[in-house]
């Protein structure tokens, strides 16, 4: 356990000192802001929303920011073990008081930092623009209050909450590919190709089979995430949104799959030559 904490600490140290990750964070925020801005222009152009347009605007920006965050998470986690294997850091760690499973577990436990960082950057970028352009009151169209501000806030929170486990599972997936790869380049390429390939075939899958894979719950280019559905709901589409069964699936399935994936990554790291 102490080895896991030491790896967690050293990974934290490296992440916060990584200039490229700060640049990615700023980029995520900026992209979220631009997306929110285009969304606000569209909402204002339609003119049908009298109040509460800020929610949809903010969620559009956040979805875009989080989709970018997903790619950053995949690249970072995939580079992690394979890159450190290349540089010799893994060898060094296992000869200095760190067990092989701790190499994976420490890197898994660091996941909340980039995930919350991406979430915060997306939120700030989108919220600042939405706040400056539109309001966060109840959703009112043509004089009718479709959803109260409380209900809208609840939908946004639920959408976000149900999306986060998928991001952890994606991080774990990147670690597994990284554990299996000889070089950081091949790990990153493999991870991205597999994720994008799944994104491309997603639309041809039935809903039952689609939501058996954790990646379906993550924001992406072809978005089927709870946050994507929440973005439709806050625009007033009453036929959209996750059913209770799907929401509960989004809450536990990615965790279960993440555990299996991490177990596989630990097994690979335990058996491979470092």
């Amino acid at each position: 356990m102490t080895g896991t904490l030491r790896i967690l600490r050293s990974e934290f140290d490296r992440l916060i000192r990584s200039l490229s990750l700060w640049i990615v964070g700023v980029t995520v925020g900026a992209v979220a802001a631009v997306s929110a801005l285009t969304s606000s222009i569209q909402i204002l152009g339609q003119g049908s929303v009298e109040s509460g347009g800020g929610w949809a605007c903010m969620l559009d920006g956040m979805r875009t920011g989080l989709a970018l965050t997903v790619f950053a998470l995949l690249v970072t986690s995939a580079r992690s073990l394979a890159g450190d294997h290349e540089s010799g850091l893994l060898r060094m760690a296992v000869t200095r008081s760190v067990s092989r499973p701790a190499l994976v577990l420490g890197r898994l436990l660091i996941a909340p930092l980039p995930i919350l960082g991406g979430l915060l950057a997306s939120f700030l970028g989108a919220w600042l623009v939405a706040r400056s352009q539109l309001d966060f009151g109840p959703l009112v169209e043509e004089g009718y209050e479709i959803l109260s501000a409380e209900e809208l806030r609840g939908e946004v929170a639920l959408g976000l909450f149900a999306t986060l486990p998928a991001l952890v599972a994606l991080w774990a997936f990147g670690l597994l590919i990284s554990a299996c790869s000889r070089t950081a380049v091949s790990a990153v390429a493999t991870t991205l190709v597999l994720f994008v390939a799944f994104d491309l075939i997603k639309e041809s899958l039935s809903q039952e089979s689609l939501y058996l894979v954790f990646a379906s719950f993550a924001p992406s280019l072809s978005d089927s995430s709870p946050l994507g559905e929440a973005a439709q709901v806050v625009q007033g589409f009453s036929d959209r949104g996750f059913s209770d069964e799907l929401l509960s699936l989004a809450m536990w399935l990615p965790w279960a799959q993440a555990l299996l994936i991490v177990g596989a990554a630990v097994a690979v790291i335990r058996s491979r030559t470092l």
Binding site: R6, R91, T273
Partner: protein, 305 residues
């Protein structure tokens, strides 16, 4: 108790037998050389010993701990790999801090003491990427020495170094050896490391051909004689006619003869050379160096095959 013990280690890659039935021990205070030419299995042996690779058969204990659980040595082991493992964008001091974070165990030498020991005190603010190869190797050694390890393993500590860098690293190893630290050096540069070694294990084609105190390994060539003659062709012809001994080298008028297990005495050899009219100038025991012993052991191993 041995600081490092390898028992009947075997490692195969498919049909290639990289290490075969290797056993040796390193005891506290020894400076032990794991020696052999490239491809002799030194690095594979160290990888198995350090838990980086699973042996096909056999076992390794490092500081009383199985090689698959080296994290239990609790920071008593320091390892310096062939390529220094450094964060190149960080300073020398920050690299030490990072390695200490992973090692986790407090106490022992301070970072300043370690930098002083390896002669990098003046460079502690310099980026690791801006160091020379020799300085990088010294920094890698510093990261292994922080925390006061009992055993330090150095894989090819001299590779890629120029004569100045080689002298610096050897001086440092000498200083560490004098302080009583147990050291294992894996290298093929026999001539360079000979002065600092107390013990050695010599490997050829994955097999151990000798192990023990350096004096014993050098002493194994006691039957080696060096004959200086005036007429080399005549001497060589006479030596080849008489059986029992073996000519194992010749340079100009100097001929190396191994009496080996022939039971022949140096006086008999002298008599043969004198009678042949080879003009024997001098007959003396060959001054054995590690490289000579190594050549002899390799030749014996080849002959055995």
């Amino acid at each position: 108790m041995a600081s490092f013990a390898i028992h009947s280690l075997h490692k195969s890659f498919g049909s290639v037998k990289a290490v075969q039935d290797l056993s040796f021990e390193v005891h506290p205070g020894q400076v032990h050389g794991l020696l052999g030419p490239n491809g002799s299995g030194k690095t594979t042996t160290l990888c198995c010993a350090l838990g980086l690779m699973r042996p096909t058969k056999g076992s390794v204990e490092v500081l009383g701990v199985s090689s698959r659980a080296l994290h239990r040595t609790g920071g008593r082991l320091g390892v310096v790999f062939d390529q220094p493992v450094l964060l190149k964008r960080r300073s020398v001091a920050a690299n030490l801090a990072y390695h200490a974070m992973i090692r986790g165990h407090k106490g022992g030498r301070t970072h300043d003491e370690v930098l002083d020991l390896v002669g990098l005190s003046d460079l502690k603010k310099r980026r690791a990427g801006a160091l020379s190869l020799g300085q990088g190797k010294r920094l890698a050694l510093a990261t292994a020495l922080a925390g006061n390890p009992e055993l330090v393993v150095l894989d090819e500590p001299l590779s890629g170094l120029d004569p100045v860098g080689t002298r610096e690293i050897l001086a440092l190893i000498g200083k560490l050896a004098a302080s009583g630290l147990t050291l294992i050096l894996s290298t093929h540069r026999l001539h360079d490391v000979e002065p600092v070694l107390t013990h050695a294990t010599i490997m050829v084609r994955g097999r151990r051909v000798a192990t023990g105190p350096l004096s014993e390994i050098l002493g194994q060539g006691e039957g080696l004689l060096q004959a200086t003659v005036q007429n080399t062709p005549l001497a060589l012809e006479a030596l080849s006619r008489m059986g029992g001994w073996q000519v194992c080298g010749q340079e100009g008028s100097v001929i190396d003869v191994d009496l080996g297990s022939s039971g022949a005495q140096p006086s008999e050899l002298a008599e043969v050379l004198v009678k042949a009219g080879a003009g024997l100038v001098r007959l003396q025991p060959a001054g054995q160096r590690l490289a000579d012993a190594f050549d002899r052991l390799v030749a014996q191993e080849s002959a055995r095959k």
